[in-house]
Symmetry: C2
Subunit: 278 residues, 2 copies
């Protein structure tokens, strides 16, 4: 564990760490915001943030403006990189496969299976590390953007009991039907689309589930990637399954961090209400 | 005038424009945040933001989190690039001279004098353009960071009546005494240090002035560039001259946008109080 950055921020501290991750067999970086309460020694719940295609651990911590709300609510916010990286890690020339595009699954196919184990990393290894090294309660929420919104919803659905709250900005709602998801799933999980359903938020919501966490989703109506995102499919699946969904469509908003920053306060309040509940 | 970007943001719109600037003889880019009031047709006061060394028009608009406060107060916020740029524009291999390092002066020396006319651009040409093309009142505040904090204070002092409010984050308070400023002033203004005094905030404050706008300055105590910034010299000059200064030193804070974001609400309120006063 090596601390690469630390910056005072809204009475707390934004840090960036690197560690050798067993899941991926690579060094992994993550951002962690420690609110004033955590710096004062109080154990705090943790919100995990999953970023989108091409992002590193930097995008969210520099652009989303979440620290001010995390400080108010006493939430730790952990933002990992979006894939393993490095010279020995497979990659693809396209932005939407390989490094920067882990899709939060455990790959089963060559050449990806050795390192691309982002589900294990995000859902298991990283929380264990955070809860061991920081003033963190084993009380977790999860959120994310685009590919990371897909990751947040599918990880919450695939790991009942592991998270108490979930939300997403402009998630890929039905990855097995989206060009981005189909390409990544074919590479990481193989050619059989049946295997993809277990990592498709809309398909998972249709299954019998032991837990149905209320889902908050914000989506811009001017989002240039709407045909990849399909909140309409998520909404229909939630209606059919009786899954609690608050889907907010925002006129004029695009896919950028300007959109996310505009509604970040609401997401942080959504998570705080669940994570700080007695 | 060409619009390069537009993003919905906190009920308003963050835009980026490019135009052919007469002052610099180059295309210049600037960010402009239009608050909800401006989009509704109400003319709004304008805060000019000057960024620091190496920055473009992007740094402030993506990282500072100012839009939420500008939306609340009904302020337009304009953030220009920090210098002329392009293949035909002189440059230096170092980060602190040439492109990205205009220092908000009109250069008098070769090879800089032809294009490096950032004082004319920021104080004259850009406000005229903004007040012609947008729902902007001729009511102006100015702020900035580091080299841009130097720019904000010196432009406000050098152009009495042009601005109604001024503030800075971690400004270079006495550029004629700082290594950064001495290098830039020698290149842009020539070897005679007497010419530098007219662009040194601390020296200007010691002069007889027709106007003394209250100055708000925030400075991190863990700022790695403190020896270049010298808020102590600014404070002493303000005390001697009876110049109204609120200097806030912040334990643990560094030179980053994390520092600025933490106190941006106070700066926006400071400007709104002056710019929205009857």
């Amino acid at each position: 564990m090596q601390r690469l950055e630390q910056h005072a921020s809204f009475g707390g501290r934004q840090e960036v760490w690197q560690h050798d991750a067993a899941s991926t067999g690579t060094p992994m970086k993550f951002g962690i915001y420690l609110p004033p309460a955590a710096l004062a020694g109080e154990k705090c719940p943790v919100l995990y943030w999953l970023s989108g295609l091409t992002c590193t651990e930097q995008n969210f911590i520099t652009k989303a403006g979440a620290q001010q709300w995390a400080a108010q609510h006493g939430l730790i916010v952990v933002a990992p990189d979006t894939s393993p990286r490095g010279a020995g890690v497979p990659d693809d020339a396209a932005y939407d496969l390989g490094q920067g595009a882990g899709f939060y699954v455990n790959a089963t196919q060559a050449p990806w299976a050795a390192h691309f184990r982002m589900e294990d990393y995000v859902a298991q290894e990283l929380p264990a590390l955070v809860e061991r090294h920081f003033a963190a309660l084993p009380v977790r929420g999860i959120s994310g953007h685009s590919m990371g919104g897909h990751g947040a919803i599918t990880l919450a659905l695939r790991h009942p009991g592991r998270y108490r709250s979930v939300s997403a900005f402009a998630p890929i709602c039905a990855a097995a039907q989206a060009p981005w998801g189909r390409k990544a799933f074919a590479a990481y999980l193989g050619d059989n689309p049946a295997a993809w359903q277990a990592h498709d938020a809309t398909a998972l919501i249709a299954r019998p589930l032991s837990e149905r966490l209320p889902l908050l989703v914000d989506q811009g109506e001017a989002d240039e990637f709407l045909p990849q995102l399909r909140p309409d499919l998520l909404q229909a699946a939630c209606e059919r399954a009786g899954h609690p969904l608050t889907l907010r469509m925002h006129a004029g908003h695009d896919h950028s961090y300007y959109f996310m920053a505009s509604f970040m306060a609401d997401h942080m309040a959504h998570h705080a209400a669940a994570l700080r509940a007695p």
